[in-house]
Symmetry: C2
Subunit: 358 residues, 2 copies
């Protein structure tokens, strides 16, 4: 149990007047959680302080060797004005897995959850009220040693910030066009694909920008060895409904073990679907599309929950999915998960962690 | 030509009293070069200011998505007290290549070199005087946008800092034991191996720490697809002298195009050696070792110039090289390159860029 010292701001910011203009991760709340790590003290000095910059020495490791990891989750306001989280322990556990790969000292899952809950309660008035809007929460850890040697830092800072964010689908769910990337890759066995480390995201920017310039919303990443098997879409997991079964890449080191991904798999299995976590070749996906068996395709992630795909382009070959509309199962998954998250449906899975009354 | 505004410190730091205790990249000079990028202004506001922290918003891209690149080079003090650089244009060109892959706006090579030269001249009294010691120069660019969206930042900062650093081989050149890494990888085709981006280095830390715990100085990285071909050692390029010929991995996207690497290749060719830039299987290296044909092995990089290898361990198989001593050719390369860098040998290649009198 952390002993969290709370120092509230004396100059609170104005809350956003129009929640329809929030966007994603653009404005931040009044406070942040901070905790430091030193070899002789472990994680220490847990505190909530006014949101403020970190003064960083230009020789700080973070500028040079990117020893950093992060997480992403949301706080939701229910109709009866409860503020609640969705499976924050899963994020805490995944941050431990990221930490292990990146040689960063682990934060106990219960401390991670306590930090998030305490900060959300302090800034509870920032949790949006409008339909589909939520408080996006960004926990992150970064190395703070000063010096040019390439090795694990001795000192770190753990920080949590929050951004009130608008509904992902403010104008209704809009299926997207996806470019199957066959030059750049996102991950390879023995690298860091299963972590949320900064380097994964930096490396992914170029392909995303190039796809966007050609009118695609995202890229679909293929495996890094053979460029044959589907792995992720943009920064989401991806699922394919083919002939009644659901296919998605297995979490064997190159794919991020998404919290939305595993929740959707649990729901699908509850509903009697066969879920195949296996390597599926893009050629087989395209063939299923041409044969009329590719029934639904959707990305899964915290920000969008599900992101339906209407078109895949691979080396000039195109398949179109669900007639450009969101598929029936994709819609049901979206309604169920968002229903649980916003308290409109009962939490039969034990996924909800209440924080406080809003 | 940059118009660089210079603001000198009013409280200069004490210079290190004992140059034998400098170490590498641990203390920094009185000033730094800074220049900012904005979409409407391009690179602008070039300035030299007292060395100082950057106050960074916790939502700055750098903490989360590691959109950052760097370079590394040195300034040398000659016997006649000239301060000089070694091929800084090569670093400027490589930083452009890194920038292109990481969607960072490029800095003209001549501006890069001017920034480095001007800063070194301002801090010329920090360039060490003792044998083998030098001023390590670290140019770096980092994204400065604030926000959680995963895309190329719009704004950036370019900074150059300098660290007086001790002789790499203060107690004589000491050949090292190398662990051939067969689980983790450093790069794969379609990723960022050819760049100096932070993510490459963060991903490499774990294997390095594990090898160190087992008494090895560094890991030898194999290719990311088959884990069969040799690529780099630690954060250096690597070369093998087998039966009179020199082998090193080609720069085809996964290997860093080292400035020391290319300089050594030029020298070797001048001296009549056959240099094979090709994929060499670790199995063939080990076989050559057992057959007595593996004559010399050495890493190449800015910090060490050359780092001779005395032992390779691959899955329990060991080969020993040059009887544990530095090889004759490795020594000649070291003497020649350091001779040119410190002005003890004539610069017949046009590699030296003088900065000022010290």
């Amino acid at each position: 149990m952390l002993d969290i010292q709370i120092t509230k701001t004396t100059s609170p910011k104005a809350k956003p007047a129009d929640e329809s203009k929030l966007g994603f991760g653009k404005i931040f709340t009044d406070h942040m959680f901070v905790m430091d790590y030193a070899p002789d003290k472990g994680w220490h000095d847990a505190r909530i302080v006014p949101y403020q910059p970190f003064p960083l020495d230009p020789a700080c490791v973070i500028f040079h060797y990117a020893q950093e990891i992060f997480e992403g989750l949301k706080a939701y306001r229910t109709a009866d004005n409860t503020i609640q989280l969705f499976r924050p322990d899963c994020n805490g556990q995944r941050m431990q897995d990221s930490a292990d790969r990146m040689c960063i000292p682990k934060i106990p899952v219960e401390d991670f959850v306590q930090a998030v809950k305490t900060l959300v309660e302090v800034d509870k008035d920032w949790v949006p009220h409008s339909d589909g809007a939520s408080l996006y929460i960004r926990p992150f850890v970064f190395a703070t040693d000063v010096g040019m040697g390439v090795h694990a830092s001795r000192n770190y800072t753990f920080c949590v910030i929050c951004a009130p964010s608008g509904a992902y689908y403010a104008e209704g769910i809009d299926p997207v066009r996806i470019y199957v990337e066959d030059e750049y890759i996102r991950a390879a066995p023995g690298l860091t694909g299963f972590t949320k480390c900064g380097g994964n995201y930096a490396a992914s920017i170029k392909a995303g920008e190039m796809a966007e310039q050609q009118g695609f919303a995202q890229v679909l990443w293929l495996d890094g060895v053979e460029k044959k098997y589907v792995e992720e879409v943009g920064s989401m997991n991806i699922m394919f409904k083919i002939d009644g079964k659901i296919y998605t890449a297995p979490c064997t080191g190159t794919v991020l073990p998404g919290v939305t991904r595993r929740s959707i798999i649990e729901l699908l299995k509850d509903w009697g679907y066969e879920v195949c976590e296996e390597h599926v070749a893009i050629a087989d996906i395209m063939k299923a599309g041409h044969d009329g068996k590719l029934e639904e395709v959707f990305g899964t992630g915290t920000a969008a929950v599900v992101s339906p795909v209407k078109e895949l382009d691979w080396k000039g070959d195109k398949v179109f999915i669900s007639g450009g509309k969101i598929g029936e199962l994709t819609q049901k998954l979206y309604d169920t998960l968002t229903g649980i998250q916003w308290g409109k449906l009962p939490d039969t899975k034990g996924w909800i962690v209440p924080v406080c009354k809003g």
